[in-house]
């Protein structure tokens, strides 16, 4: 549950997403993920915080008894509003977008580049070990190259797992997102970010 939400409000949000608690949780994560990417793709400085703000507003509206027929469409509109507020610096927390100049990554010299690469790899290996062996194997298998076409290889993998191809792609994408978060945390702990 996010900060700023009561347990009741959060429960109301989940039940609006799906009557089944587990499915509701999945839908909540999907929606949050979409919101994060929306803000990231729009160049907002704090995508996760903005996404949570949208979900907070949605939950509050539901708590007030407002009927929302299409939750995802509603979230899109609120996200645009939050983005606008952020751009104008109205949320009192972020700087206006136009005042933020992201700099291109500095080009590391050869030695530090190598060290950075090794650190990244070490973190990824740690994160892969932390995953269930089946999941780690799946993501490596999915992204491996080699003989044969990529589509055919992934089609065969999907058949072997009894999944549709898009279901396989979604499953791998979630694993990739999870791994990315894990590696980012790991690098942050090691002071590399």
């Amino acid at each position: 549950m996010q900060a700023g939400l009561t347990a009741d409000t959060f429960a109301g949000l989940l039940s609006r997403l799906d009557a089944d608690r587990e499915r509701a949780g999945e839908k909540y994560e999907d929606l949050r993920r979409t919101l994060i990417r929306f803000f990231e793709w729009r160049g907002a400085p704090f995508p996760e915080e903005h996404a949570d703000e949208v979900l907070n507003r949605l939950a509050r509206k539901l708590g007030e008894g407002v009927e929302i027929r299409n939750v995802r469409a509603f979230c899109h509109e609120v996200a645009r509003l939050v983005l606008l507020e952020s751009a104008k610096g109205r949320d009192g927390r972020t700087e206006p977008l136009e005042s933020i100049k992201f700099e291109p990554a500095a080009s590391p010299d050869g030695a530090s580049e190598e060290a950075e690469k090794e650190l990244g790899l070490a973190c990824l290996e740690d994160c892969l070990r932390a995953l269930p062996a089946e999941s780690a194997g799946l993501i490596l298998e999915y992204y491996r190259g080699g003989e044969g076409g990529q589509i055919e290889r992934r089609k065969a993998l999907a058949q072997r797992l009894g999944l549709r191809r898009d279901a396989l792609a979604n499953r791998v994408q979630r694993l990739r997102d999870k791994l990315e978060r894990c590696v980012s945390d790991c690098l942050r702990k090691k002071g590399a970010v």
């Binding site: 793709w41 899109h76 992201f102 990244g120």
Partner: protein, 297 residues
């Protein structure tokens, strides 16, 4: 891409989680190509100058490098071997310099994603064949006819000629006053294959003002779904036309589906034709996505 088109795309991916997943996967493909050093130098420089300006995106690129390194350390090459993947990304990024697309590589990742999807899906063509357009079409009897086809794989003919150009020669001239058959432009596309197809520019469909109908002929390697449907969209935009329960015709190798539509529905721009197949259990899958550009003459 205009603000309106961008908003439309955002609305679409909020409402359609599958489209969102496609965008995310397209982004991954772009980042993986960068991490594996498959982008040509000038494209790579553009990527660094624009994509890597956001901290979250830098982390994503860093992760992609680690993933590629992890695969290499296990003795398996990462997906998208350079020889195949480079042309795909050359197409992706090369297209950005096309003034008509007006999709310059900007700081907006959304823009990159929209274009990435457009090419990502459009690149799913059979390898080692001219991507986008085939030079020869097959007659119903399985024989191969060589019709005049321009560089983009376009046949332009009055409707009866689209059936058989040769027969026209033996046909008497139309009687004065008889209603002329509509002018039909046919674009032949090839679906299926790997996404790391060989490089080729997107097919171009030139449409004259006199063209009344457009026929999109999609060649499939196999037709193993119970039924098919298709949607034509403007790239990064809304639906233009759709077809339900279309039936492929068997060809000597694979099958062919022909989609007809009024030419007036196509303005100048870029289009994505998505073919969906419904399996025996009722599940619907994207079978292929083809791209082409319309140029109004």
């Amino acid at each position: 891409m205009s603000d309106a088109e961008r908003s439309e795309l955002e609305r679409a991916y909020f409402e359609d989680p599958r489209l969102f997943e496609q965008l995310v996967q397209a982004e991954n493909e772009l980042v993986d190509a960068y991490a594996r050093e498959l982008l040509p130098p000038e494209r790579c420089e553009r990527f660094e100058r624009h994509y890597l300006t956001h901290p979250a995106r830098r982390e994503r690129a860093r992760f992609a490098r680690s993933l590629a390194a992890a695969l290499e350390s296990r003795g398996v090459p990462p997906a998208a071997a350079p020889a195949r993947a480079e042309p795909f990304w050359r197409r992706l990024l090369g297209s950005l310099s096309r003034p008509k697309l007006a999709w310059a590589f900007s700081a907006s990742l959304l823009l990159v994603c929209a274009v990435a999807v457009w090419f990502y899906t459009g690149a799913e063509r059979r390898p080692r064949e001219p991507a986008g357009a085939e030079r020869a079409t097959r007659e119903p009897d399985g024989g191969e006819s060589r019709r005049p086809v321009n560089d983009s794989g376009i046949e332009t003919a009055r409707e009866p000629e689209a059936v058989s150009a040769e027969k026209k020669k033996a046909r008497p001239s139309p009687t004065p006053g008889a209603k002329a058959a509509p002018v039909v432009a046919t674009l032949v596309l090839t679906a299926g294959g790997t996404r790391s197809a060989e490089a080729a520019p997107p097919a171009v469909l030139p449409l004259a003002a006199s063209t009344e109908k457009v026929s999109l002929r999609l060649n499939l390697r196999e037709a193993d779904y119970r039924s098919y449907s298709a949607v034509l969209r403007r790239a990064g935009g809304g639906e233009v036309f759709s077809w339900r329960r279309v039936t492929p015709k068997a060809a000597k190798s694979g099958a062919t589906i022909t989609f007809a539509m009024p030419a007036r529905r196509l303005t100048e721009g870029d289009y994505v034709l998505t073919l969906k197949g419904t399996g025996d259990a009722g599940e619907v899958e994207d079978v292929s996505v083809s791209l082409f550009s319309v140029e109004r003459k």
